[in-house]
């Protein structure tokens, strides 16, 4: 099954949003609700640090665990929904696997919520071995097992999703290399040019399959460690496996949601966004660089081989190039003097390109070993990832939500336009306060802050409330459209 790219390139915005499979609507509706709830949790964390809301430290760390796991998971789910929606126009994906992934996701979420709020698990979303099994008496082994099991169930669902995507891509293009455009890149005559959606999906399929296998393996041995404490794992190996998985998975979310930009923004600008040789080269480079950049999470683990940490810095520096040169610049070229029609969808998608591009700067800074020496695990870290996940990845998801089912009769009003501005300005302010606090040496993941840090927390709380108000508008607007989206089939 293949739809010529010309059909997509010249199709109207409506062509791209109609025929939406209910499973995708379910993915996005759940994403809207969970994003909002997790933002509420995040706001509570900042209010607690700001001393505006009394939250006991144990509850703070439990909520912090929920916020991290919830946000990473829902970013993955939203990205998968967007990828499936557009990829299924090019290859034959399994609807059963799409639903199976959703079911395992919900089952895993239920296990994680029970582990945290009934079992008191507060080991952080990164479940760093051997903390889950060694809580200092704070939670029972059963709670840790339930949390790790929940993550494993979710991970297996996602692994099935990417295996199915890989199967469908290979069935249509022959090899994953062909779907990344290597025959075109290396000049084979008559080679088929893959669509941007297929290239991005293939990259994500490769990296996430590897990342999820690593994550599942370390979750499995951590579970065994809980059941049989004598079964010890090398802590450094476990940390490498966890950060390889976590780094790859969270990065892949934005490489999935950017598909919405590739597909939707051209229809607004009235121009084409086709894969070119620089585009293909950029995505192949991203495939490799995302896999090898993860040691930048371990720069202060002095027992790591020095060469691996240098690779982490160099790969992190280089990983920014394809994003800036291919995707962000491509979006700027697409929009420049295009006569684009601005509405919340196009504005959020354009904003997302800024969020991703600008967020690379503090990310690269943090990946610099001599800087990491003084910035490691300070607020600079959540500052950089909130920049490109909130203003990049989440903006792409909300842009996609606005795009789906949009028509002029039930179109957006001034409240939606205001919400976009509040989201953009509030998001920038929120992330900048994190970064500034990091510069001042404020540690991340502290339930109780020293008096001299509280002012930053209070300013950040105001920005966070503004962002949440805007997201409330986005989410409610999308949820109100769900019945109409389902009727559009």
């Amino acid at each position: 099954m293949s739809i010529p790219s010309s059909v997509l390139a010249t199709g109207s915005a409506r062509d791209l949003s109609t025929g939406i499979y209910p499973g995708v609507v379910a993915y996005l509706a759940i994403a809207g609700v969970v994003l909002l709830l997790m933002m509420l949790v995040g706001v509570v964390l900042r209010l607690a640090q700001a001393e505006w809301l009394p939250v006991p430290p144990d509850l703070f760390y439990e909520m912090m665990t929920a916020h991290g796991a919830g946000m990473v998971g829902i970013a993955g789910l939203a990205g998968a929904g967007i990828m499936w929606h557009f990829l299924t126009r090019h290859v034959r994906l399994s609807r059963g696997i799409l639903i199976a992934n959703l079911v395992s996701f919900l089952a895993g979420v239920a296990m994680i919520l029970a582990a945290i709020f009934l079992g008191g698990f507060g080991g952080g979303w990164t479940f760093l071995y051997p903390l889950p099994a060694t809580s200092g008496g704070a939670w029972e082994p059963g709670a840790a097992a339930l949390y790790l099991g929940g993550l494993l169930v979710i991970g297996v669902g996602f692994l099935l999703f990417y295996l199915d995507a890989g199967r469908a891509i290979i069935a249509e293009y022959g090899t994953l290399g062909a779907a990344l455009g290597w025959p075109v890149l290396f000049g084979r005559l008559g080679a088929r040019l893959p669509e941007p959606t297929v290239v991005a999906s293939t990259m994500v399929t490769i990296v996430n399959t590897l990342g999820l296998v690593s994550g599942a393996a370390v979750l499995a041995v951590s579970l065994i460690n809980i059941a049989v404490p004598g079964f010890a794992v090398d802590a450094l190996l476990a940390k490498n496996m966890i950060y390889f998985f976590g780094h790859v998975f969270i990065n892949a979310t934005i490489y999935m949601t950017v598909i919405a930009v590739y597909e939707i923004l051209p229809s607004y600008a009235g121009r084409e966004w086709k894969a070119s040789k620089p585009f293909l080269l950029g995505w192949t480079a991203s495939t490799l660089l995302v896999l090898i950049a993860y040691p930048h999470h371990l720069l202060m683990d002095f027992v790591m081989p020095e060469w691996a940490l240098i690779v982490g810095q160099v790969a992190s520096y280089t990983a920014g190039l394809p994003v800036l040169v291919v995707t962000a610049y491509g979006a700027l070229t697409l929009v420049y003097r295009s006569g684009i029609r601005w509405d919340p969808a196009s504005a959020l998608l354009f904003l997302s390109m800024f969020g991703w591009a600008a967020g690379i700067v503090p990310a690269i800074v943090d990946a610099t070993i001599m800087v990491n020496l003084v910035m490691h695990n300070t607020m600079w870290v959540p500052g950089h990832f909130h920049f490109y996940l909130l203003l990049g990845m989440a903006a792409m998801v909300f842009g996609f939500m606005y795009f789906l089912g949009h028509d002029r009769e039930t179109g957006e009003n001034v409240l939606d336009r205001l919400a976009v501005w509040v989201f953009a300005l509030g998001g920038v302010g929120f992330a900048l306060v994190f970064l500034y606090a990091g510069k001042e040496g404020v540690p991340r993941r502290w339930a109780v802050h020293l008096p001299e840090w509280v002012a930053y927390d209070q300013i950040a709380s105001l920005f966070a409330l503004a962002v949440m108000a805007a997201v409330l508008v986005f989410a409610v607007r999308f949820l109100l459209r769900v019945p109409r989206l389902l009727a559009m089939r």
Partner: protein, 138 residues
């Protein structure tokens, strides 16, 4: 301090990116031929791509000269050894008095989970794992 420098550099670069996006958004209302725009944009891209590569290469070489890892520091014989042991949720620090100007080697280990002098999250009392180090004048 290095923190001030990287903050300044980051804000300037992010502001520059914001200006470019705002400029493109502001000019989006006027229509121009897509192919002409693309041709011009690709020419410009070739220039700034290599500029970016050069900046990254220089930054890489410059920053990797100052690695903080143990074998790059002062000679072992001249260091004062301080043993730091992390355990949920306190640090035990053992060693002689520290003196201004005298290099120190921290030998850090853990009795239970990951701790690290660099703020590794270690459970529900993580924020209380702080201790004082007194450095006396020479």
């Amino acid at each position: 301090m290095i923190q001030d420098s990287v903050w300044l550099i980051s804000v300037i670069l992010m502001a520059a990116i914001a200006v470019v996006f705002l400029w493109v958004a502001a000019s989006a209302g006027q229509e121009a031929d897509a192919e002409a725009v693309q041709r011009q944009a690709y020419r410009v891209r070739a220039g700034w791509f290599w500029l970016l590569v050069a900046v990254i290469a220089i930054a890489t070489v410059t920053t990797l000269r100052a690695l903080p890892y143990p074998d790059r520091g002062p000679q072992a014989a001249s260091r004062v050894i301080v043993r730091a042991t992390g355990a949920q949720w306190a640090w035990t620090i053992e060693g002689p008095d520290l003196v201004v100007g005298k290099p120190v080697e921290f030998q850090v280990t853990s009795a239970d989970v990951n701790h690290g002098l660099c703020l590794e999250y270690c459970g529900l009392v993580h924020h209380q794992m702080i201790t004082d180090l007194v450095v006396k004048p020479n």
